[in-house]
């Protein structure tokens, strides 16, 4: 993500390189237009853009609609749509470059408000004890201005900020604590911040470099995918999946990847952990103490950009050349076969289940 961001900046500065290459897929299902207003019982796919957008696909795959935020509210979301946080009946759409979180009814997508002040490159949002917590990079190049914004959900304003280390990325709530993976913004980092929601006190857990995706498994362990620093940094480090005991906040297991391997997505479904590396999808049981040797699915020559697993179905976004609409690929994990392809927004990155 960081490199994509940097590159997008570069492309922006260069004007637009008018070159393209898209992988035409004959497998596109013909979409029907859903009646506006009901996005329950379906899949939401957010796309960074620009234009940033959210797509809806019904659970039975019969109905799809792109640009649902625009269709309902007749306004653009603002580049780049980083992520969506869900709280009760509401969805909080985080657009990082424009420093805005738009709040919609998660089922009708009607806009209910927005958070426009006090954010600086917001990335992800979590909820705890009736408050919102948003990770903020600040200036991507500044290592000392990163913070978690604490949101008053009735006024939609930032009530306080909690300074944290460089590049806070994903954030999840557990018990009375918030866990923040520090991918590192434009730089890199190797910590998980643990924030006590009562005192806002911050402690850190050191993991391998570039921690990004986090899940909480059935055993109550926090599993963190650390991507490792890539070779181009001149200081390549190994990736790992770390397990953290959330009662003691210590690393209990750290499964390292071979050097040169840098996995980038991780999901969890029904006791199984899925991750993607170099366009191959791997699965392991949450109790496993070593990484799987072989993959279950080879995604082929695509630009894997997002991944999620739900109800034994694997969802992958293919961002193609980053200059055309992405595809959402749906694999049945019983047969490991591609069963659906849907056209979604440009640079589709996140998949949520409504």
């Amino acid at each position: 993500m960081k490199n994509v961001f940097k590159l997008l900046t570069l492309i922006f500065l260069c004007g637009f390189l008018a070159t393209s290459c898209s992988d035409d897929d004959d497998f596109i299902d013909s979409p029907e237009i859903a009646p506006l207003g009901d996005y329950e019982n379906g899949i939401l796919v957010s796309a960074e853009g620009g234009p940033a957008s959210v797509s809806y696909i019904s659970n039975d795959f019969s109905t799809t609609e792109n640009d649902i935020y625009f269709n309902v509210n007749n306004e653009q979301l603002g580049v780049y749509l980083q992520s969506i946080g869900f709280n009760g009946g509401q969805a909080y759409i985080v657009s990082d470059n424009v420093n805005i979180i738009n709040i919609v009814d998660r089922y009708t997508f009607v806009k209910e408000g927005s958070i426009t002040a006090g954010l600086h490159t917001p990335r992800y949002m979590a909820f705890l004890n009736g408050k919102g917590y948003v990770s903020n990079w600040g200036d991507g190049t500044d290592t000392s201005d990163d913070y978690i914004a604490v949101i008053n959900l009735s006024t939609n304003s930032v009530e306080t900020t909690i300074p944290v280390g460089e590049g806070p990325e994903q954030i999840i709530a557990n018990g009375n604590e918030l866990y923040v993976s520090h991918k590192g913004g434009y730089n890199s980092n190797n910590i998980i911040s643990v924030i006590n929601a009562s005192t806002n006190a911050v402690s850190t857990i050191t993991v391998n470099d570039v921690p990004d995706e986090m899940i909480v498994n059935n055993m109550g362990e926090l599993m963190v995918l650390c991507e490792g620093k890539p070779a181009w940094t001149g200081d390549e480090t190994t990736a790992s999946i770390a397990k953290i005991d959330m009662s003691t906040n210590t690393v209990t297991d750290n499964m390292t990847f071979a050097s040169g391997v840098h996995p980038s997505q991780m999901s969890y479904d029904n006791g199984n952990v899925y991750y993607q590396s170099n366009n191959e999808v791997f699965v392991m049981n949450e109790t496993a103490t070593s990484l799987p040797m072989s993959s279950i699915i080879n995604l082929g020559v695509i630009t894997t950009y997002g991944m999620a697993v739900n109800n034994n179905m694997l969802y992958i976004t293919d961002a193609k050349d980053y200059a055309s609409l992405s595809d959402l690929l749906v694999y049945d994990l019983t047969s490991n076969a591609l069963v659906h392809t849907f056209e979604v927004g440009k640079i589709a990155s996140k998949i949520y289940f409504n």
Binding site: N3, V4, L7, L10, I11, F12, L13, C14, G15, F16, L17, A18, T19, S20, C21, S22, D24, G50, P51, Q76, G78, V79, N97, V98, N99, I100, T116, H120, T121, D139, G140, T141, D142, E227, P230, A231, W232, T233, G234, H262, S264, N278, T303, K320, D321, A323, S324, L325, K346
Partner: protein
């Protein structure tokens, strides 16, 4: 007087020039051109020259001049912001900008931002369509844009002052002064443009935020005729600019961008019988700073210095046949926040030949570069002109051109790819020119096969540039000029039109931000001291996504500008003008979500004394 005339003929005519002499009314004055290839090796290609009368009516940015008067498409990130061209359907790196004969495209991204060129300090600007890599180097694929300063001798003291003021607090001031004797010529230019650029968006409550910009240019050019056989010329140029980059959403973090460029060129030309010897030494520097947060003093930057040495020998074999050999060397040193200090040296050899034979004209040239940086192809250009009748000419031209990898492509931390090769383009064109006294029309069909195009692709966790894309662009370019006079009423019409297909050969899709159609036209009416004109620009639909999704396009737009001018003084040397731009308040964009100004006004005074 006689000597001067001979000198003039020598410089201008014996070097294969086909240019008519009518540009010099007063034979006492002698004009030395800086970029002689435009006269001598561009006969079989379409050129469009913009001189004073057009420059005065244009806003000071090169983008505005060319968008209004040429068939080049510009992607402008909001008015005055980063602007990159698409010429004959090519990418921004495939148009070269040439300052007094020297290629000034950025070492970092390989292109010129057309909003960092202020036109006020140039005597004329020429658009040359089609390939020109043998003559002008990297990027001369779609075409080249030439910024020229002429040195004038025997003209005494001449001053020109331009002051313009327009909507959005836009100031545009330029001064050019020259002093010359028979053997000595000095020209000094100063210009400054600034704008609050806070225009309201059409059909919207919003305004252009954080779009202010300013730039200043200083230039000084000196010519000295040592004796009948030797001339020294010195050209220099300094450009300084700061732009705040406009926001799409008010809540974005405001940014700004600074450019600082210098150019210096020393030329020694000697005329020895059938030989003309030209030695050029040049120094070009470029520097940018990008502030990702306007309130902080942290920035990313790039800085490069180039030294160019070039020796050129012309030999007249027969009365109407000339051969020329060129040796050159180009050393560049550059670094940036994301680029470690690197240097590269490129040396090259070119051989050029030109002959006229009755109704035929032939020009042919070859170039080969030697560098450790990339594998250099043999570049060539072949052109044939046949004057079928005195007023009808057919041109055929074929050339191989290239765009070399940039510093970003080669040396970007973690991404730079040292195995890159140049993009290469094989180009063919057929031109027809009809030229009568008061009517001229030309139409050119072109075909351009561009291979090994460099694109940044994800490679594991990092993006790397690779030679991958194959694009074929083809189309038609046309130019028209008509003049009609009834007693004191003069009516002139000039226009351009381009139809361009530019297709990625893998996907069979049109490149993004390349319109199929673009046209410009200007109708001018002059009655004695008064002139009035109507200008229109049509830009067809462009795709913004590479899959040519019909939902993500920029709508076609038609802009109209009107203006009046009144001239005072014995020789009409004091001009007062007023313009209304975008009179129909068209809501248009040339880059998605970058809205351009609606109706706006401009007033100017141009005094020559």
């Amino acid at each position: 007087m006689k000597q001067v005339l001979i000198f003039f003929l020598f410089c201008q005519v014996s070097v294969w020039s086909q240019a008519p002499l009518d540009s010099i009314q007063n034979l006492d004055e002698v004009v030395l051109k800086s970029d002689r290839y435009l006269e001598t090796f561009s006969d079989t290609q379409l050129t469009q020259v913009f001189n004073d009368s057009v420059l005065v009516r244009s806003a000071s940015s090169l983008t505005q001049l060319l968008n209004n008067n040429a068939s080049i498409y510009f992607k402008e990130n909001g008015f005055g912001m980063v602007s990159s061209p698409s010429f004959r359907g090519t990418t921004a790196q495939q148009t070269a900008v040439i300052w007094n004969g020297i290629n000034i495209n950025s070492q970092f991204n390989g292109q010129t931002d057309f909003n960092t060129i202020n036109i006020r300090n140039f005597d004329n600007i020429t658009v040359r369509s089609g390939g020109g890599s043998v003559l002008y180097g990297s990027g001369a694929i779609g075409g080249t844009i030439h910024l020229n300063n002429d040195l004038i001798f025997n003209a005494g003291l001449e001053n020109s002052l331009y002051v313009g003021y327009g909507s959005f607090n836009t100031w545009d001031v330029g001064y050019n002064g020259s002093m010359s004797s028979e053997n000595f010529s000095v020209e000094v230019g100063l210009s400054r443009t600034s704008s609050s650029n806070n225009y309201p968006y059409v059909d919207s409550e919003k305004t252009n935020l954080n779009g202010e910009f300013r730039n200043a240019t200083f230039s000084a050019n000196i010519g000295y005729k040592i004796n009948d056989k030797n001339v020294l010329k010195l050209y220099s140029y300094v450009f300084d600019s700061e732009r705040h980059f406009s926001l799409i959403f008010p809540s974005e973090t405001p940014t700004k961008y600074q450019d600082f460029n210098t150019r210096a060129l020393l030329e020694w030309q000697g005329f020895y019988g059938k030989f003309i010897s030209t030695l050029r030494v040049a120094n070009i520097t470029e520097k940018y700073k990008y502030f990702s947060n306007i309130d902080k003093n942290t920035f990313s930057f790039g800085e490069a210095t180039s030294y160019i040495g070039k020796y050129q020998l012309d030999y007249q074999i027969f009365k109407k046949a000339n051969v020329q050999g060129v040796l050159d060397i180009n050393y560049t040193n550059g670094e940036g926040s994301d680029i470690a200090e690197n240097n590269r040296t490129i040396s090259g050899f070119s051989l050029l030949y030109k002959q006229t034979f009755k109704k035929f004209l032939f020009e042919g040239s070859l170039r080969k570069e030697i560098t450790t940086n990339y594998e250099s192809p043999l570049l060539y250009s072949l052109g044939l002109q046949y004057r079928i009748t005195p007023f009808y000419t057919v041109n055929i031209n074929g050339s191989k051109n290239f765009r070399i990898p940039t510093y970003n492509d080669l040396f970007w931390f973690g991404s730079g790819n040292l195995d890159l090769n140049p993009e290469t383009a094989n180009q063919y064109e057929l031109g027809n020119e009809l030229e009568f006294n008061k009517f001229s029309f030309s139409v050119v069909g072109f075909y351009n096969d561009i291979e090994n195009m460099i694109r940044w692709l994800p490679s594991g966790s990092v993006w790397k540039p690779v030679n991958t894309d194959h694009v074929i662009s083809y189309g038609v370019e046309a130019e028209l000029q008509v003049e009609q006079q009834f007693q004191s009423h003069i009516l002139t019409l000039s226009g351009t039109y381009a139809y361009t297909v530019s297709e990625n050969q893998e996907t069979k899709k049109q490149l993004i931000y390349v319109p199929y159609n673009k046209a410009t036209a200007i109708l001018n009416y002059q009655y004695k001291r008064l002139s009035a004109y109507y200008q229109t620009i049509y830009v067809g639909e462009v795709f913004t996504l590479s899959d040519n999704n019909p939902k993500y396009v920029l709508d076609p737009y038609l802009l109209s500008n009107v203006g009046v001018e009144y001239a005072l003084g014995k020789n009409f040397q004091y001009t007062f003008g007023a313009q209304v731009n975008n009179i129909f308040n068209e809501n248009y964009q040339s880059v998605a979500d970058r809205y351009m100004p609606g109706v706006n006004y401009n007033f100017y005074i141009n005094l020559n004394f």
